[in-house]
Subunit: 155 residues, 2 copies
């Protein structure tokens, strides 16, 4: 029962571009901190998957299943943090102005990532190692797709 | 199909005390950053729920469902970040030594939180506003239960 309800929660949220009025009141600095936190955790759970897909770490089906479930949630978290109010925030951020000058392109990059994560979710419990590794690689590409145009080059 | 698989992923992880060998290699400073990120995001999604439960924000069933789904995942994320290797880390952290000197008590506080989140998950899609608010209050108490003993008092 628990599980079906959770499931419903996620299904309902996906793609609907969930907006939460409460967040409109959140200080820009907090929004930046929250979106950066989501990216940090995406890295935590995507990193080990990337290592497996590239053969740098041994394949572990349980890690694929768990980390993918975490990414399913995390892939929904950063986007409302890129509110217009954060455009000129003084805290350190690698977010580029293109986020706000090219919103449609930014949204497309988000969607590509979320779709790739959902494709990974679909194979994450099936035990098909090759399919999982392919799906992981596709997720990785969509991370880069967004970082390429919307994040300052990292040192 | 997607959904059933995601679900399976979460069910499998719950309570099993998922340990991920890959993380053993992660630098202590990164572990601290990741666990703090999880706490930041718990705040992001729990905050609006707490405001509703306390009557400080209007009730919104969609927000309850979505934020609870996010908390379901987030409630599993911080704990492996409190690795022994982070005990003497030099980066700023409010984590108290009791985390490592009273591990059973710390684990119990985590479990109480995770159980309270699961209880909220169970009612989060049922449309029973009163039950949801009660469950939200119970989650809030378990946040405090951990912070009371294991986090430096906040200014």
């Amino acid at each position: 029962m628990n599980k079906r309800l959770l499931l419903a929660g996620l299904a309902f949220a996906l793609g609907a571009g969930m907006t939460q009025a409460a967040f409109a009141q959140v200080k820009p600095e907090i929004l930046v901190k929250q979106r950066q936190a989501a990216m940090t955790l995406q890295g935590k759970y995507a990193g080990p998957l990337g290592a497996m897909a590239q053969g740098k770490a041994p394949y572990n089906a349980d890690t694929v299943a768990f980390n993918t479930a975490m990414l399913d949630a995390l892939s929904r978290m950063p986007w409302d943090g890129f509110a217009e109010s954060t455009k000129d925030v003084t805290v350190k951020t690698a977010a580029l102005p293109a986020i706000w000058s090219e919103p449609a392109k930014f949204k497309e990059a988000q969607d590509n990532f979320q779709k790739a994560v959902q494709a990974l979710v679909a194979v994450s419990r099936g035990g098909d190692e090759a399919a999982q590794k392919t799906a992981i690689g596709a997720v990785g590409k969509t991370c880069g797709g967004c970082h390429q145009n919307f994040r300052e080059k990292q040192q």
